[in-house]
């Protein structure tokens, strides 16, 4: 893919978009929750990637580089929403169940609503770590490149996140 990017940047980038857009979308979606927000963040992620495409150096870093951009875009959007939106992330669990607009793009059962509500109550960093490990099974090595954090700290973060979620789910 890198070879193709070097020889024909337009063709190479099309391949990058096709290969990574679903994975990045779901990563973003779990962080920003709403489809419309995820759609915006995904497009911004690829626009930023395109503008700075000369920054990455090899195949293995392309994946973590794109995830890092997607994470930053998601967090920027969350912070923007916190200032402006009427619906906070903490209320999204009820929003999915009660709002027709919210439930359109959410088909989880009761257990999944509870899990999403518990995840939304985690601190931001723990939420990202939990999502990347629990849903995407990302290695701590790759995660440390995405989040610029040591593997030890990420393991501890995931451990705390799991404990908190188990406590929240067990308490229901």
């Amino acid at each position: 893919m890198i070879r193709l990017l070097k020889s024909d940047i337009n063709k190479g980038f099309r391949l990058v978009v096709q290969r990574y857009s679903p994975k990045l979308y779901w990563h973003i979606r779990r962080l920003v929750i709403l489809h419309e927000d995820a759609d915006d963040a995904l497009q911004n992620t690829f626009l930023n990637a395109w503008k700075n495409i000369g920054e990455f150096r090899n195949e293995s870093s392309l994946y973590t580089w794109l995830y890092a951009i997607a994470t930053n875009e998601s967090l920027a959007l969350i912070n923007k929403k916190k200032r402006n939106s009427a619906v906070s992330l903490d209320d999204l669990g009820n929003y999915f169940v009660n709002s027709p607009e919210g439930s359109t793009w959410f088909d989880g059962d009761e257990a999944e609503v509870k899990l999403q509500n518990a995840i939304l109550k985690l601190p931001e960093k723990q939420r990202i770590v939990f999502n990347l490990k629990y849903f995407e099974d990302m290695t701590y090595e790759d995660m440390s490149k995405v989040l610029k954090t040591s593997e030890g700290a990420l393991k501890a973060s995931y451990h705390h996140a799991v404990k908190k979620i188990e406590k929240m789910l067990g308490g229901d």
């Binding site: 940047i9 980038f13 099309r14 978009v17 096709q18 857009s21 679903p22 979308y25 779901w26 979606r29 779990r30 489809h35 759609d39 995904l42 497009q43 690829f46 626009l47 395109w50 503008k51 700075n52 495409i53 000369g54 920054e55 359109t104 793009w105 959410f106 088909d107 989880g108 059962d109 257990a111 999944e112 609503v113 899990l115 999403q116 629990y134 849903f135 099974d137 799991v162 979620i165 188990e166 789910l169 067990g170």
Partner: protein, 140 residues
Amino acid sequence: MKPTENIPGKNPFKVPENYFEEVNRKIISATADIEPAIVKKRIYHRLRPWLAVAASVAVLILLGYGAVKIFLPGSRNLELPEISLQEFAESYPDDTDLITLEESVGSLILFEEVPKVNNREIIDYLMLENINENEIYELL
């Protein structure tokens, strides 16, 4: 069983039909008008691998040269070869006989310092040798 193990890591979210085909098209058409910033590597970054190779080769050459100088027997040419007196004499010019040679070498070895003799002793010695006192004073 842990509560998280009861819940499969299944994705509960949905997307509109053909969403990914459409969003991919949008992304590609949005990037068509934007020039990507291809970061040109600085000369140092371009040359860095070659500089590393050159430095490694230089270190290897220095180490090799040092090893040859230290360990090869032929390279110890600064040390004087061990040679007997006889061999030395044989290699010396033919018109010098061994006794003369031994005397000259022996005097150098035996008298490292010139013995201290005062003026009076010198004059007494010369007097004993029947040298005229006036001649001595003329020389002084």
